[in-house]
Symmetry: C2
Subunit: 110 residues, 2 copies
DNA sequence: CGGCATCCATGCGGATACTG
DNA sequence: CAGTATCCGCATGGATGCCG
């Protein structure tokens, strides 16, 4: 149930409200990805923002970062067990977002 | 122009990601409120941002704005029927946000 | 390959003053 | 009462260059 004073929605918004964070999480749901994989999967993201957002998500405990001390270096990112608790939330948010986009579309052609 | 987002989560984030929007919506769930009511219920919000966020939400079809042509003027804001579809989404988001806040707390004291 | 450092542009939000 | 107008600081994010 929702509390009256402080709205924890803001907490979730804060966690997800980076320009590329939803896309990052979306791409990690299925499988572990390397840094370079994510760059290719999200073509318009800059290295800086990808790195920064990944560090944010890692700091929140949502994303696991695994470094293999090889040459060349290899770093893998994956959803943590805790991060997977976001999946059902993301699905609900996605469903509403799709409805909203559909609604906007029907408005624009009417 | 219809920009088909790959991740509709961004749509929902866009709708809710104003600094005071969750609080505004939260305060409108129970009942219709006047502008001045919302100012009192959200003490730190400025008139500018309250007005701007309300217009954003109205533009998305989430909030209804009713003007009574009286002196002094009276304007009422309420969740639209469509806006009420956000409530179950908000509850899921809230539940996760509360868990996350709790998690952060237990981490900070461990 | 997987970053970080730096500089820069934009936009969100805050403070203040004014108004129908 | 319910806004609008204006100015401004700061954070977010983009572009580029360098590095282990």
């Amino acid at each position: 149930m929702i509390h009256q004073r402080e709205c924890p929605i803001e907490t979730l918004i804060h966690v997800l409200a980076g320009k590329w964070k939803p896309m990052i999480l979306w791409n990690l749901i299925d499988s572990t990805k390397r840094f370079n994989d994510l760059e290719k999967l999200i073509p318009d993201v800059s290295q800086k923002m990808l790195s920064q957002h990944l560090r944010d998500l890692e700091g929140e405990g949502i994303v696991d970062r695994t470094v293999y001390p090889t040459v060349p270096p290899k770093v893998e990112y994956s959803l943590s067990e805790y991060g997977k608790t976001l999946i059902p939330v993301a699905e609900v948010m996605c469903a509403w977002g799709e409805q909203h986009n559909q609604r906007k579309y029907t408005e624009s052609v009417s």
